[in-house]
């Protein structure tokens, strides 16, 4: 009975793949509307299926020890290689089902939104085809049954991201950005691959067989149990090193410092793409990967978790600092994304049972909080990006200088943007509060230092988000620009997704806030949890109050500085610290550093000699052989002189020689 419900789960992957193929092959022959409808319909179906799966999964009975069973409806061997084999299949467990909901919802909203945003663009069909490809890849990534399938879809996601960032391919910045994104993530994926190979080689398996109680469907290839003990026996450092290498791959995809450089430039792509890929789904792939491998981290690589924590902390701080000084609204949102993902990473990192024996970690609160933040962040960040898209659509520019005072013209966008800003700031009754608060609680349980740093970063988050909000909707109106083209509210196809996402944000926020304080059931922690058991969130009142007060203080500060028609304090600060502002604006010169490293050091010292070797030695050998053959041929050429007498002479000579040889023998 259970299996029949999940037997349609392969459609979740198949439908977007089909729509990609149809749109890719026949898209140019269709009208824009048809292409958009095909893409959106298939995604609508996928969303319905994902919700059905979620209901079926979470509505099913729990196992004896209180966890949800991990269900594997499909698993087949794709590539047998001796002992190891690469499988492809679908694995349903709490985090993957949650991700299914997130991805399909946000993707559906983006599909609907793109009807309005991309209206009239050349390449509309191509856009929808790539969106389908991306959705399929991301869905495949989260339901992977083994790390190698995850890697395959990981790369596919990277390719889709490349295609979508470079969508406006006639523009040079877009091409450069797409190349940068792909190369940086690919570079990180190299480490990921090494980690996978080490892992697979030493534990004899690629499968996620450690993911709890597993119920296999009929006809599936059974998982080979990953023999972690064997790896440990081989050498103590193997498993932690493999896991850290995989984390580096995830850090590239999730834009952790110093591999974050691609994400701000990825904003060259269309805004719905930024909403889908670079806010809600792809960039959380790294977080998801650690969550998936979490049992191994907890058991074998606890000391290495501190790497995760500190990378996350530093990234969050760096991104928040840079976001305070950006003038392009999409860049602000991009750095905000980097910062929030760092929050998620930190949450996962601090989630160790009984770490240092300091405080009990409330059954790995950090894991739950990280996943919850992933969910809520996807919703409100997508809402923010889509709202930014509406604004850009209205004002035809990304810069804050062209905006200001837009609340008169765009009421719906104003309200939804404001709600999402409250959510990201962590105000109670908005969804961001519950998740962020839980993260900070977990951080305090891990170490007070980390806890206070994260609180400070949360304050910075509130500050720059409201700076952005006031800069767009309040402040001085840019009258000259608005004379030519009065900004108008976006069409319904664009505002409805905003409203839907806001409703989700508010709904989750209100429910979880009340549930957390009143101890109700049915909250997030009951479904997704590191141990899989039923966990009811209780808010630690002290920490909740502290973070709320700090957030409100930051908002007030931002209001004070930025709300008015002119900003004297901001200008004074700018004059006092020009170099600091400039450095923050230039993202602390990270791009320049990377350019220097690659161009001066790697290209000059490594690439050039290798290229010289390849061109002169390797090619030279073959050129020489060809030249030699040519010369030999040329030297034989005069033998064919057309002169019969010469032929006769040679004939005679040959005969004489043969005779002599025969005589000798």
């Amino acid at each position: 009975m259970v299996m029949e419900i999940y037997s349609y789960s392969f459609l979740i992957l198949l439908l977007p793949a089909l729509s990609f193929v149809i749109l890719a092959l026949a898209g140019m022959k269709m009208s824009h509307k048809t292409a958009g409808l095909i893409g959106t319909t298939s995604l609508g179906l996928v969303t319905v299926l994902s919700y059905l799966t979620a209901f079926a999964y979470f509505g099913a009975d729990r196992m004896a020890d209180g966890t949800y069973a991990t269900v594997v409806p499909y698993n087949f061997t794709w590539l047998p290689l001796g002992n190891l084999h690469f499988d492809m299949g679908i694995l349903l467990d709490p985090i993957s089902v949650m991700m299914l909901i997130v991805i399909s919802t946000v993707s559906l909203m983006v599909h609907i939104y793109s009807f309005g945003y991309m209206h009239g663009e050349k390449g509309f069909q191509r856009y929808y085809a790539f969106l389908s490809l991306f959705t399929m890849s991301m869905l495949g990534l989260v339901v992977a049954t083994n790390i190698f399938q995850m890697y395959t879809f990981w790369e596919l996601v990277g390719v889709s991201s490349y295609l979508l960032i470079g969508f406006y391919y006639p523009l040079k910045p877009a091409i450069a950005a797409s190349k940068k994104a792909f190369i940086v993530t690919r570079f990180a994926d190299m480490f990921f691959l090494i980690g996978i190979l080490m892992f697979g080689y030493y534990t004899d398996s690629f499968s996620f067989s450690f993911a709890g109680n597993i119920v296999m469907g009929e006809g599936t290839t059974p998982f080979i149990a990953s023999n972690a003990a064997k790896a440990v026996a081989a050498a103590g450092f193997i498993l932690p090193t493999a896991l850290v290498l995989m984390f580096i791959g995830g850090a590239g995809k999730s834009a952790m410092f110093p591999l974050h450089i691609w994400l701000p430039d990825a904003m060259e792509g269309p805004t719905p793409v930024s909403a889908l890929i670079h806010a809600a789904t792809m960039v959380v792939a790294g977080v998801f990967q650690i969550a998936r491998m979490f049992p191994l981290w907890v058991e074998y690589a606890q000391p290495q978790m501190s790497i995760v924590v500190w990378v996350g902390v530093f990234t969050a701080f760096y991104a928040a600092a840079v976001a305070c000084a950006q003038s392009d609204i999409k860049r602000v949102l991009a750095f905000s994304t980097i910062s929030q993902i760092a929050f998620m990473m930190v949450a996962l990192g601090v989630s160790l049972p009984g770490h240092h024996g300091v405080l009990d970690n409330h059954a790995q609160l950090g894991f739950m909080a990280g996943m919850f933040h992933l969910f809520t962040h996807a919703m409100f960040k997508a809402c923010l990006f889509l709202g930014a898209g509406c604004i850009i659509h209205a004002v035809h520019s990304n810069e804050m200088a062209m905006m200001g005072g837009l609340r008169k013209y765009m009421p719906i966008t104003n309200i939804t943007f404001l709600i999402s800003c409250f959510a990201i700031a962590g105000i109670p009754f908005f969804s961001g509060f519950s998740s962020k608060d839980e993260i900070i609680t977990a951080c305090f349980a891990y170490s007070p230092v980390v806890g206070w740093i994260m609180t400070g970063i949360a304050a910075m988050t509130a500050f720059y988000m409201f700076r952005l909000y006031y800069g767009i909707f309040w402040g001085t109106e840019n009258v000259e620009a608005h004379e030519h083209h009065t900004p108008h509210e976006a069409p319904a196809t664009m505002t409805i997704p905003l409203i839907v996402l806001c409703v989700i944000t508010m709904g989750v926020g209100i429910y979880s806030t009340i549930a957390g304080f009143a101890g109700w059931g049915g909250s997030f922690g009951q479904f997704v949890n590191a141990e899989g058991t039923n966990y009811t969130i209780h808010f630690d009142t002290q920490i909740a109050a502290t973070s709320t007060i700090i957030a409100i203080l930051s908002i007030c500060l931002a209001t004070y500085i930025y709300k008015g028609e002119s900003q004297p304090i901001a200008d004074r600060l700018y004059k006092t610290f020009p170099k600091l502002h400039r450095a923050a604006y230039k993202r602390f010169y990270q791009d320049e550093i990377w350019q220097y490293v690659t161009h001066r050091i790697i290209f000059r010292c490594i690439s050039k000699p290798v290229a010289w070797f390849d061109r002169h030695v390797v090619d030279g050998t073959f050129n020489f052989m060809a030249w030699g053959a040519n010369e030999a041929g040329e030297s034989l050429r005069p033998w064919q002189s057309g002169d019969v007498r010469q032929y006769a002479v040679w004939f005679l000579t040959g005969t004489v020689a043969l005779t002599l040889i025969l005589l000798a023998i």
Partner: protein, 102 residues
């Protein structure tokens, strides 16, 4: 009787004179004449061997007969070719037919 070695010596001498002439001469017809010399040398050889080794058989003689016939035929064809060459290249020198040169 003439010692039998003489025949063979004569035959060999004639053969190589023919070969030398073929290699050295430029005129096409002169080259053909030298080919005839070679063929005749071979004929002498056949006849002498026949007389020497096979007193009762006549194979050598018939061989010689047929060689004469074949030589005649081949001369006819060669002359026809040379006439064609002369018509096309207007020269009877072997240097003119070097078309097959690279």
């Amino acid at each position: 009787m003439v010692p039998v070695e003489c025949y063979f010596a004569l035959s060999a001498l004639l053969f190589f004179i023919g070969v030398y002439g073929f290699v050295t001469r430029r005129n096409l017809i002169a080259m053909l004449i030298c080919v005839e010399l070679v063929l005749n040398a071979v004929d002498i050889n056949f006849a002498a061997i026949n007389r020497l080794l096979y007193p009762n058989g006549m194979e050598g003689m018939f061989m010689t007969l047929f060689v004469i016939g074949v030589a005649a035929a081949e001369s006819a064809v060669a002359i026809a070719i040379i006439i064609n060459v002369y018509r096309n290249f207007h020269s009877d020198s072997v240097d003119s037919i070097k078309n097959m040169k690279w």
